[in-house]
Every structure is written in structure tokens, then in C-alpha cells.
């Protein structure tokens, strides 16, 4: 399994969010836990996963991975990130 593969990348970014929403709907997690997890997902997890994929696709240097934490920085590579 490699983040180079689009489907694996999609799996990695959609599954946590889907699980969070499902657990919230079922009442297994509190709204506070959901909010903290969602912010962690939006600010750290998603940008880092995207950064690793961009690095594996040779679009950015390894040293540029932390730059993906800058909001909207990834958007310039949206085509490479989300193309199947």
C-alpha cells in the first residue's frame, strides 16, 4: 500500500472523517471529542498525508512536507493530489 496510489490516498483521507461522523451519529463519542479530532484532522492529519503523497509523486521535496501545514498551500497541487 502506497500513498502514490490514488485509491489508498482517498481511503486514508476519507475513512477517519467517515468514522468520526458515524461514531458521532451513534453517540459513541462526545461533541468535544469530535471537534478536537476534526480540528486535528483538518489542521495536521490531512495536510501531512497530502504532503507525503506529493513527495512520493515527486512534486515536492522532502523538506517541503511541513509547508503543507500552511492553509491552502496544497491547493496548487490539487490536480496531482486528487487525480485518479
Amino acid at each position: 500500500m502506497n500513498l502514490k496510489f490514488s485509491f489508498f490516498y482517498y481511503f486514508m483521507i476519507i475513512t477517519p472523517l467517515l468514522l468520526l461522523i458515524l461514531f458521532l451519529k451513534k453517540g459513541d463519542i462526545t461533541s468535544v471529542f469530535f471537534t478536537i479530532s476534526l480540528l486535528f484532522y483538518g489542521i495536521i492529519y490531512h495536510p501531512l498525508i497530502s504532503g507525503i503523497r506529493l513527495f512520493l509523486l515527486n512534486k515536492i521535496e522532502k523538506s517541503e512536507i511541513p509547508k503543507t501545514l500552511i492553509p491552502f498551500w496544497n491547493l496548487r497541487f490539487a490536480k496531482d493530489l486528487y487525480s485518479l
Binding site: I13, L17, L18, L24, S31, L38, L39, I43, F72
Partner: protein, 235 residues
């Protein structure tokens, strides 16, 4: 032939106008009925408000020790809040032997209360809990000033319902009063923000689905929603 055609068009126009007239009349009739209905409903409400008479109110002092303890323990946990509302209230001289229960005939809920002493003689303060069956609602502080103003401070949510009575009319105002401790306020605001975010992602049908998908592709959406909810609940 042209004259027959003309007369046909004229007839059609007349029929159309007549139809429009009836349509308008129908609309006017409907509107009038609606206005009458609203007015009658308002009048009914006014009548029911007038029906609340002193003889319908039941008042007695509490003999039940358990309930008195409930009132005193609830009051002790809101001492700071009450002191913040009015520092003139003397909290260590509350006479729990005069705790009372008040209800209206035919109504389900009942008010449990105790009067608080104050250095200010113009305002009467009552600490009140509303009991509905086994459930006890959030504690309130009621301040009555010269029978012209009644303030209901909700000690849990920090909301204030202010009734001003003048010329037999009651003016109602809703607002917030400054909450006691900053920590509690931050906690309330955080909890409300979390609830708002959870609600946005789970209780709005297709909008929630769209929000989930958009957050997966554009994670800044989650941050934007969090910011919007925080602004709504904390500012």
C-alpha cells in the same frame, strides 16, 4: 369576420378580467380571514392572560425537609453568581424555614423558592427552582422592583428575562447578564461551539453530507466551520 374576431377577443378579455377580479376577491377574502384569525387568536391569548387570578395561585410553606435541602444545596452552589448580580444580597442570612412552594391551579409545574435578604429595601430577591414532576429546572433568581419590574436571572445559562410593567402593559426583554466566573464562561462557550460543530456535521441531511465531503477534499472547511460556530456562540 374581423368584427366577430374582435368581439371574441373582447369577450375573452372580459372573462379574463372577471376571473382576475374573482381571484383578487378570493385573495382579499383569504387575507381578511387570516387577519381576523390572527386578531382573534391574539385576543384569546390576552383573555387567557387575564384569567390568571390570585385565587388560582396556591402558596404554602415547605414542610418537606428533603426539598428544603435541595434548595439550600442548589443555592450554595450559586452563591458567587448571585453575589455578582447584586452584592447587597446577604447570603449568610437565608431563612430556609420560610422556603415556599407556589403553583397555579390546573398547571403541572410548581415553583420552589426562598426569599433572600438584601440591604437594598426596594428590591425583593427570591431564589427559585421550577419543579415539573421529578425534574427540577435550572435555578433562577427573581428580582422584583417596586412592582414595576421583574427580572428572571437564569443562573445556569446566564440569560436574563426582564419584564417591565407600565400602564397595564408588559414589555418583555431578553438579554444576557455578565456571568460569574470566566472559567465557566469559557467552558460554556467551548461546549456550545463543540455542539454546534457536531450538529453541523450530523443533523442537517444532505448539507451535512456535503460538508463531510468538502472537508475531506478541503480540510480548511472544518476549521472554517469551527470558527463560525465559535463566533456564533462566544462573541
Amino acid at each position: 369576420m374581423p368584427s366577430a374576431e374582435y368581439s371574441d377577443t373582447a369577450l375573452n378579455l372580459k372573462v379574463g378580467k372577471l376571473k382576475n377580479f374573482y381571484k383578487m376577491k378570493k385573495t382579499h377574502l383569504m387575507l381578511s380571514l387570516l387577519v381576523i384569525f390572527i386578531f382573534s387568536a391574539c385576543n384569546k391569548k390576552a383573555e387567557t392572560e387575564e384569567l390568571i387570578k390570585p385565587e388560582n395561585l396556591q402558596f404554602s410553606f415547605l414542610n418537606d425537609n428533603e426539598t428544603v435541602i435541595k434548595i439550600s444545596s442548589s443555592l450554595s452552589s450559586f452563591i458567587n453568581s448571585i453575589h455578582q448580580i447584586d452584592p447587597n444580597i446577604i447570603m449568610n442570612e437565608v431563612d430556609f424555614n420560610k422556603s415556599f412552594i407556589a403553583s397555579e391551579k390546573g398547571q403541572i409545574g410548581e415553583a420552589l423558592g426562598v426569599n433572600l435578604k438584601t440591604r437594598d429595601t426596594e428590591i425583593i430577591y427570591t431564589f427559585m427552582l421550577v419543579r415539573n414532576g421529578d425534574k427540577i429546572g435550572s435555578p433562577k433568581l427573581v428580582a422584583i422592583e417596586n412592582r414595576k419590574s421583574i427580572k428572571y436571572y437564569d443562573l445556569e445559562s446566564g440569560t436574563l428575562l426582564h419584564l417591565i410593567i407600565h400602564d397595564n402593559k408588559v414589555e418583555v426583554m431578553n438579554s444576557r447578564y455578565s456571568h460569574v466566573n470566566f472559567q465557566q464562561r469559557v467552558f460554556d462557550c467551548g461546549q456550545a461551539t463543540a455542539n454546534c460543530i457536531a450538529d453541523a456535521y450530523s443533523n442537517h441531511g444532505w448539507t451535512s453530507v456535503w460538508l463531510g465531503i468538502q472537508s475531506a477534499f478541503l480540510p480548511q472547511t472544518a476549521v472554517a466551520i469551527a470558527a463560525a460556530c465559535a463566533a456564533k456562540n462566544c462573541l
